[in-house]
Symmetry: C2
Subunit: 175 residues, 2 copies
């Protein structure tokens, strides 16, 4: 199924000049939603993965379904102050500003293999911040996967230059 | 499978006197996570539901999996300023403060039947705010479901007194 056309582009959101790629129109369509999950599942079926980690908040939507389909536990990486237990945190640069992510210190065990999931890759700041938290717990990122990749924002290049594997389902040019 | 014991209680979070029921320890356990999804799926299999609506952010984790399992589209209800399209918003009272939820104006069609999902029911403020947004689009809430119900905070009573159906997987007394 051709799902890319179900992703809506909202011009000038969240600020002037940004073309926001909105996956809510894809998620709303049950066939489109199923198509992206099935594509991810087909790739990761049989991989040696211990946990699926999703990045708040849209990464929760994709990551939790993959967790269920692959039969692995789900770990949420959350914005600052949202996790109730003891955490590590990482600040990182976004396409438009700064943000902070946190992970529970007991979320992953040393040596566990992680599939890291988000909806979109832009500059790669969020992804690398997330990876740093996973590695702080001495777990390993098997791959980072997203629905949308915006290669012009160079996140793909940054992620790969840092030695990590990336899998995305579709690309858009520009912002 | 007995999943309730996998939910961790964090005392005095987010403030003194609150016993925070933390589902991340349940989600991390693949058997526990599967057990709760399978319980929900067993209930809703065969129901006449058009869409699954999840409340940001922990409601995304449960709601999106249910959406996939039931083969229905997923709609995220988000905190203020997070949805890029045209929205309606609702302010509501929380156990500790106020918050605002938004829905895309084109998220649901008139007459669509909705399963509303969150992780936890406390005072019911979030749930009733979410329901008001669904009804603003002239869609119908078939049922509101949560993993955890805190009946002492009277959310269950408020939801039911307002004429809505509630289904929760487990209860804790106190806050």
């Amino acid at each position: 199924m051709e799902f890319k056309s179900l992703i809506r582009t909202v011009p000038n959101y969240p600020k002037e000049g940004i073309m926001f790629r909105d996956i809510t129109t894809l998620l709303k369509d049950e066939k489109g939603f199923r198509a992206i999950i099935d594509k991810f599942a087909a790739r990761y079926e049989g991989w040696n993965i211990d946990k699926v980690v999703g990045i708040e908040s849209r990464g929760f939507i994709i990551g939790s379904v993959l967790s269920y389909v692959l039969g692995k536990g789900f770990i949420p990486l959350r914005k600052a102050g949202k996790l109730p237990g003891e955490t590590y945190s990482a600040q990182y640069e976004l396409e438009y500003g700064f943000d902070k992510l946190e992970i529970h210190k007991d979320a992953l065990k040393k040596g566990e293999k992680v599939l890291l999931v988000d909806d979109l890759l832009a500059t790669g700041g969020t992804a690398l911040g997330a990876i740093s938290l996973i590695e702080r717990l001495e777990a390993e990122v098997s791959e980072f996967c997203t629905v949308v990749n915006l290669p012009d924002l160079k996140g793909e290049r940054r992620v790969k230059e840092n030695g990590y594997s990336l899998y995305s389902l579709c690309e858009f040019s520009g912002h």
